[in-house]
Symmetry: C2
């Protein structure tokens, strides 16, 4: 049982600077000391600031005499407005190291705060992905950022991505640049034991979709146009032999542990395995990219009207990211399957379906059924309808998907607005 | 077929800064231009300097107007003396970027040249691993180094390790520090098509042993003593859930492609798959470590008397690294198996043996037999005896293994000098 580590000799992974192990965050004060940190910005949200993951970090900072300021106003599912508030805090603080303790909302907010504090002259839209923002290159060097993920979900500790809800547009977008990649991710499985069951479920769906989408993304050698200079390679480069290793491996863990992790917060083996799976899937999709489930999730999250996330300690209406992503997954994979049926079948098989007598033509249906049955077992809301959407909303959902081309162009199957309309329609009810 | 890339949109892997694809080195001139390189040191050896891998790089440098000087005196299986000659060249050249085109011998030499040119005041032993050297920390920042591996073997493009033969000691040792890790590895499978069959075999055995040893290394959470400060974590930290992914995956590719790659230089699929396997195994062992086969290989290589490597275009006696490693592998895994029989059985199974009715107690014998049969099929020399050693040499081989504790302590089974003696004795003849 690899999570029961009897000493602080945790595993520092060669990839993506991830250090893994139960209790690994206890030594963060020493790391900060080693880095010569004198003025640390600790970011978190108001739920976590009351819980052990933040407590452990604070104790370690105190023990090692590291000075810090806390920012606990991170918004769950951040917006441009909440990003800007965190950026202001960072600009005023003149910090030399950032520490983010939380889920994707906290880590992404901290990445943005670090970025704009290092570029004080920049306008907010300068670094936001085109076509919504200007997608300018990042020229200044950022301060070190240590990410301590507390959900088993986004993999944000491994990626150069920060996502926010652009409220005017009613769609999420983000900033994607390798410079945002955290200096170090401290993946301490003990932190996931506090996740409410629905947070475990939704962040687990995020892992599932990262793995499925990166595994089925357009292969890297079919991407076009070719960049004329290697510096113009996109961060998301399509599925490739490396990302496939991560995607398959993450999928296997999800198949084995997701349900257990959701159902029993005390199942340390399941929760810590899912925590590692989120890292693996993060490395995979951070490299290969995601496609339609994620592209379509951004308007699903951004157009939220009144939906309250079950089991979340949050006062505003939200569709949690993992939920917004997974609700379209049956429709999406039914749609993409004919482009690479073997991969869709393999995914269904890893997720527990016997595919030995299935024809290639049925790959999409079979993977979709597999996903629906997982969602049903985990008592997921019955489609977009159940979170407050009706047929009338489809045009705005489609409209909000169009600018997500950076992501959606990695879909293995080309698609029109009519296709997107059909995918949203097919996702209204699942069971 | 992922190697047949129709555009320069190759896969840049999130891990370890590896860019992979057929023809990917054609753009190296542009990368150097992007980096602002004005004075490049191109290192290679005298065989490769006549072959396409170097030709392609030179054409690209010329096309993009990048100034460079060539050093082609790298010794195959480098020594302290040959390292020093390369270091002198580097010191005199005041280079701003290094490019290494070759196998492990070239890449390791280039790492050392870059290191000591960046630390002009240092003595040679300062950075060499203790107890042979002083193992001092590296404080200066090194120049960027682009590694272009032409063997499917060492994985040196992914590691912070540089190995040389310390001639006075008659044993190999090295420098191990994350700072040595190449900035970018350009893994271009086309370059492996020129490898002579024996180079493909021996470098392939290196991949096999990297995977087997890192898979069976002492688990990271059983290592001791615990470092009191995270900065003192060793680079080699024992097997862990991440390195296991790489080791298993590399082993699967070796099982499928090694023999084909050795037997048919024109089998592009096999050769390019082995090239990727060397990267995977490199990331895995660079993180987890290797153990007895590698630890014992250093005196086997260092005590060479007259053995001429078959199929190598080299004038001095050598035992090629991969050969020196693999010859003890049957004995080593028979010895270590009782500590983690499941892993030894799993490895035998991946390598093609039916283990369904094998008892745990037989795991060592079964893996050893599996290895012997692969070696026999690939016409490998029949043990240490066949490369010039006799029983009389065993004491010096054991003596040369003792200072390799940095590596050998990762053996899952503790061992005495008697054990080492027995392992060398058992490796005298294989078939
Ligand atoms: N950067 C990326 O690569 C990336 C990838 C996917 C998603 N995202 C983004 O990440 C955000 C979602 O992040 P998330 O799914 O990790 O959830 P989250 O950060 O939004 O947290 C969800 C809720 O769970 C609580 N919580 C988190 N960890 C807890 C713990 N250990 N114990 C108790 N409560 C805990 C939080 O306080 C919050 O109320 C979205 O904005 C999404 O768009 C980013
Ligand atoms: N740094 C590390 O992590 C690491 C790991 C393992 C081994 N090593 C070291 O690497 C060295 C061995 O390197 P190697 O096994 O890659 O072989 P090598 O670099 O010694 O090359 C072996 C021979 O093959 C020739 N050659 C290489 N590529 C060729 C090609 N494409 N076409 C034709 N000829 C080619 C070379 O000219 C040489 O004659 C040893 O010194 C070993 O100790 C280092
Ligand atoms: Fe996501
Ligand atoms: Fe090796």
């Amino acid at each position: 049982m690899f999570y029961r580590c009897r000493c602080p000799a945790h595993s520092q992974m060669a990839c993506s600077n991830i250090r893994y192990g139960a209790g690994v965050t206890k030594e963060i004060g020493m790391d900060l000391q080693n880095m010569g940190a004198r003025n640390v910005c600790l970011m978190t949200d108001r739920t976590l600031s009351q819980l052990p993951p933040v407590g452990v970090v604070l104790d370690s900072l105190t023990k090692h005499g590291v000075e810090y300021k806390i920012y606990e106003d991170v918004r769950v599912e951040p917006t441009d407005k909440s990003f800007k508030a965190a950026i202001d805090f960072a600009k005023q603080g003149h910090f030399d190291v950032y520490v983010a303790v939380g889920g994707g909302s906290v880590i992404d907010t901290c990445k943005a705060a670090n970025l704009y504090a290092s570029h004080p002259e920049a306008e907010f839209l300068d670094f936001v992905n085109a076509p919504i923002g200007k997608g300018k290159p990042i020229t200044a060097s950022l301060k070190p950022l240590i990410a301590v993920p507390t959900t088993a979900g986004t993999g944000s500790e491994t990626t150069g991505v920060a996502i926010f809800d652009f409220e005017n547009l009613k769609a999420k977008t983000g900033i994607a640049n390798r410079a945002l990649k955290p200096t170090l991710g401290m993946v301490d499985p003990l932190h996931t034991l506090h996740m409410p069951s629905r947070v475990a479920a939704n962040s687990g769906f995020d892992v599932l979709c990262h793995a499925l989408e990166s595994f089925t993304a357009l292969p890297y050698n079919l991407r076009s146009p070719c960049p004329s200079n290697p510096i113009n390679r996109p961060a998301y480069q399509g599925s490739n032999p490396i990302s496939d290793v991560w995607a398959r491996h993450a999928l296997k863990i999800v198949a084995k542990y997701l349900k257990r992790a959701v159902r029993d917060a005390g199942d340390v083996e399941a929760r810590s395995s899912m925590h590692l799976a989120s890292v693996f899937a993060g490395i995979g999709f951070g490299n290969a990219g995601v496609h339609l489930c994620h592209g379509m999730s951004y308007p699903i999250a951004g157009n939220v009207k009144t939906h309250r996330a079950r089991g979340y300690n949050v006062e505003h209406p939200i569709v949690p990211h993992g939920l917004s992503v997974v609700l379209t997954s049956p429709a999406v994979f039914a749609f993409t399957a004919n482009m690479c049926p073997e991969r869709h079948l393999e995914a269904a098989q890893i997720l527990g379906t016997d595919v030995s007598n299935i024809k290639k033509d049925d790959a999409g249906r079979v993977l979709a059924d597999t996903l629906r049955s997982i969602l049903y077992d985990l008592e997921v809301e019955d489609g977009l309808f159940a979170i407050g959407y009706t047929k009338e909303d489809i045009p705005s959902l489609v409209k909000g998907t169009i600018p997500q081309e950076r992501v959606t162009k990695l879909s293995p199957r080309a698609h029109t607005e009519e296709d997107l309309t059909a995918l949203f329609a097919a996702s209204m009810k699942l069971y």
